[in-house]
Symmetry: C2
Subunit: 289 residues, 2 copies
């Protein structure tokens, strides 16, 4: 790398800092490019601008479903071509797996509920918690990213719970987390904590360990069901590979490596735990680059 990226806040520009235009924003280094919505490359992404340039963006304040860059006609703001997992899009995926925070800048033109009336505003650090692709409103492939404000709460450990909750948990939220853990525990116990992809059973002094991977993620915008048939029992390595789309599972149970399509074996099935094949199709459709 020719330079080190700056993750985190830029001294002198706390959340709430405002900018008249993109030139002023670029000068501050809070978001360096003059036009692009994502400041990033294959080594990671450090900042994004949310300003209504993409019809598929969704803004919920402390959570944002953000559209990747490319394939967009700036005049009409419509998608006119497929997006690829390259440049800034790859950078946001990289920042997710590295756990690097992303500076979020909102501009006039974004959702009026959360955006400034004029100019641009730095709204603090967010963490990328998910990425996948979808067919956008205009019929082309888009890459999508779910970002959650750092000030709100970190997502729960990936191994245990798929949903993220706000920091001030209501009692209902806590009971939901507990139920979700119960589903996860049931599936892991049925498989005796053996990974359904590689068969390993990790032995620890506290007993065997495995993780419950939701095939279709819980929560916005996937809204997968929190039931045993939407859960796989995986070792942490295969959980990571499955969640990032590095491996996928075909309709006949063949586990394949993304890109090469190399066969890695068959999904291990047992009596008492039915897998929902429609959710595995959803996973293939949304995570294969």
């Amino acid at each position: 790398m020719a330079f080190e990226r700056t993750y985190g806040e830029i001294p002198g520009y706390p959340p709430g800092s405002t900018f008249k235009n993109r030139d002023e924003l670029a000068d501050s280094q809070v978001h360096r490019p003059n036009q692009a919505g994502i400041c990033g490359g294959k080594d990671g992404a450090e900042s994004i601008v949310v300003s209504g340039g993409y019809v598929d963006d969704e803004d919920y304040g402390t959570e944002i479903v953000y559209t990747g860059q490319g394939g967009n006609d700036p005049a009409t703001k419509r998608q006119i071509a497929d997006q690829q997992l390259t440049r800034g899009n790859l950078g946001l995926a990289r920042s997710q797996i590295d756990g690097n925070p992303v500076r979020v800048i909102r501009g006039a033109g974004g959702d009026p509920k959360y955006s400034p009336k004029a100019g641009l505003r730095y709204d603090g650090l967010f963490r990328v918690v998910d990425h996948w692709h979808d067919t956008g409103k205009d019929g082309f492939q888009i890459w999508r990213y779910r970002l959650v404000a750092l000030e709100s709460a970190d997502p729960p450990p990936a191994g245990t719970l798929g949903a993220t909750g706000p920091a001030a948990r209501t009692e209902a939220t806590i009971q939901r987390l507990v139920r979700s853990t119960a589903v996860a525990n049931k599936v892991k116990r049925l498989h005796e904590h053996k990974c359904q992809v590689c068969g390993i059973q990790l032995a620890t002094p506290a007993g065997p360990y495995a993780e419950a991977a939701h095939i279709r993620a819980l929560g916005k915008p996937h809204n997968g069901p929190d039931v045993a048939s939407n859960v796989l029992c995986l070792c942490p390595n295969d959980h990571l590979l499955f969640d990032t789309g590095a491996i996928y599972i075909e309709a006949d149970g063949t586990v394949r490596q993304a890109g090469t399509a190399a066969e890695l074996g068959k999904l291990r099935l047992i009596h008492g735990h039915s897998v929902d094949w429609a959710q595995l199709a959803y996973h293939r459709e949304h995570h294969q680059p």
Copy 2:
């Protein structure tokens, strides 16, 4: 198992519910044993009582450093023998790796800052985030557990950051998280994301993936330093095995399996990343059962 454990809240007993004595508490099912401080076994622990029975307990309100059971003279409250990772102690470790919540009941006799003046009070659900052993104030081995209130915040993903922060993050806390991620990223890049234990480099569509494992954990009560020499680059599976004490690393770099002491290979070292061997000794001393 002869019965299913009940994790989470007991209907009719919200946080703040009070009990005159242990019999009334046991009748409510919030904590079933009449005497033991931990309700649990090898399949998990569902509740604990914190009431000043162990000299090594530390109560910080939303965080508790709890002492395991056994080896204790109830008359003097002093330790008179080593504790083992069995029964309730094993149960709390199991609840950590399963992500199951633990009901916490405080009783008169505990830290006066957080405990009821008389009787017992149910104080809500906590998550076990760490366990290790130590030499207690009385010179015997004790098992220790760090519990964090669910209402406060979930710990950050294990792979990225070792410290937990309160839900309402101050700017200083956020900057600390960002710095911690920078240290982690540096170590992972130096190792080209290859695991220092097994050598695997997990390939994902967003690039290679590894995790930064703190050898001596950050934060209370270990207070490990957030520097590259206190970090190993590990795959998620070996990270889990290292953190749970399932594997340990000897002074000559030999990686061994806990219990059997079987040799699993040598820690992979590279120029540019010095490992602090004193921290690896600390890990051995506190995580080997």
